[in-house]
């Protein structure tokens, strides 16, 4: 049964975002977009969350935090990288302290580029994530492993 798709609870973590994407994520919860229509709740607890929403590029200090939050979430779970910084590192990609996009630390399922990502595209990304969440649940119950997205290697500053 597909209750998972009807009740996705998400946890939002600001890796090192400028708050632009964070404000757009919170805008999704306002009466204007009201994502609670789809049963989406913004929880502060990784143990209750199904979708990990990360904004901003991961830096060397907080990549352990990102990893920790991801590990605390019970299966099945998906990761959505919001904004161009979370997708690839964005303009901060080559900074000495930046590890890169979220996919350098944890496997990412959905990328939502944009600077800042629009609420419409964020909702679209979450809805895409719901499909992947359902696939993961099916894989979990059937025991057939589903292909996981890879963790991207960090490219040296200035390109390879």
């Amino acid at each position: 049964m597909a209750y998972l798709k009807k009740s996705p609870w998400l946890i939002h973590y600001d890796a090192s975002s400028c708050n632009g994407c964070d404000i757009e994520i919170l805008a999704c919860l306002t009466p204007m977009y009201d994502v609670e229509r789809f049963g989406i709740l913004n929880t502060g607890n990784p143990k209750h969350a199904d979708i990990f929403v990360v904004t901003g590029s991961v830096n060397e200090e907080n990549k352990y935090v990102v990893k920790n939050i991801y590990d605390q979430m019970p299966e099945p779970k998906v990761v959505v990288a919001i904004g161009i910084c979370a997708t690839s590192g964005g303009i901060f990609r080559e900074c000495y302290n930046v590890a890169g996009g979220i996919d350098t630390t944890i496997p990412v399922d959905v990328y939502v580029p944009g600077c800042a990502a629009r609420p419409e595209s964020i909702i679209d990304g979450i809805v895409t994530a719901l499909g992947i969440l359902e696939e993961k649940r099916a894989a979990m119950t059937s025991g057939v492993p589903r292909e996981q997205p890879m963790i991207a290697p960090k490219e040296p500053a200035g390109g390879a």
Partner: protein
């Protein structure tokens, strides 16, 4: 007089009614905030999802505590609807809450511990009034049996207005509504991560949610007792009380625990004990 039928009906129907009431709660709350809100069946989807998730626990004894909370919450409600002893119902409900607190303490997490401490404070805050409500009904009907209280020929609320108001006051705590949602709260509210619920996830959280529905139906049944002589009036009273709780929830900020304890004890002492004292003195004349 214990009626098994009442207990069985409660065990079977309470999750359905409780879930729909919780769904209406979310819908009405959303409308109060100018949003569309989820379907009224959303709480069922949530619990269905929680049972689909991985059952990760920090400490294996949590399974036992959650199951005990679930069983005693059902026991308390079933005894109530069977027409059993109201004091025993109140104590069974407290025991259920204590198991929830123990479950939160079982995990070595500071958030969970603060939540558990706050849950204990909440129990401390509402327990006197809950007991006084039972005592008040005893003073009027001369029986602690729910079946006798429900059979009382007259509106209990007319004789016990203070007790009724006091009960409504602590109902806010029991339903985990603002301004007294200090240990944990519903909807998207957050307080110290998720307070007492922090370390419960997956199926365990689902069990806690269903147990809460049972509790909710029991508490609304308690409201019913005040109007038991006419069940249509009682149903209308329940609806008004619940909508009032939602209005309070949406118009109040969370208070500090000190105010929660002080105010609910003041209400219990002045309105609860005062009302009972007046009834007692009038009865002697």
């Amino acid at each position: 007089m214990i009626s098994l039928v009442g207990a069985v009906v409660f065990v079977l129907l309470a999750p359905v009614i409780g879930g729909i009431v919780a769904g209406i709660d979310r819908k009405v709350t959303a409308h109060m905030q100018g949003r569309v809100g989820p379907s009224i069946f959303q709480p069922f989807y949530d619990v269905g999802k929680l049972f689909e998730k991985e059952g990760a626990v920090v400490n294996d004894t949590q399974h036992f505590y959650v199951l005990s909370y679930f069983v005693f919450a059902i026991f308390a409600g079933a005894l109530f609807f069977a027409g059993g002893n109201l004091l025993l119902v109140v104590f069974a409900l407290t025991l259920a809450e204590v198991f929830l607190v123990l479950g939160a303490y079982a995990a070595n997490s500071p958030y969970s511990h603060i939540g558990a401490e706050r849950e204990l404070i909440q129990i401390m805050a509402y327990e006197p009034m809950l007991l006084l409500a039972a005592v008040g009904m005893y003073v009027v009907t001369r029986s602690f049996n729910v079946s006798d209280i429900a059979g009382f020929p007259g509106y209990l609320v007319i004789l016990l207005p203070g007790v009724f108001f006091g009960f409504i006051y602590i109902l806010t705590i029991k339903l985990r509504k603002s301004p007294f949602d200090i240990s944990t709260s519903h909807h998207a509210h957050q307080e110290i991560v998720k307070g007492v619920m922090t370390e419960f996830s997956g199926p365990n959280l689902g069990f806690i949610e269903v147990a809460h529905w049972y509790e909710m139906v029991f508490l609304l049944g308690f409201v019913f007792l005040f109007f038991a002589v006419n069940w249509i009036v009682a149903l209308i009273a329940i609806i008004i009380v619940y909508l009032l709780e939602l209005a309070i929830d949406n118009t109040n900020a969370r208070v500090k625990w000190q105010l929660a304890v002080k105010s609910s004890w003041a209400v219990a002492l002045i309105l609860g004990a005062g009302n009972i004292a007046i009834i007692y003195l009038l009865g002697r004349v």
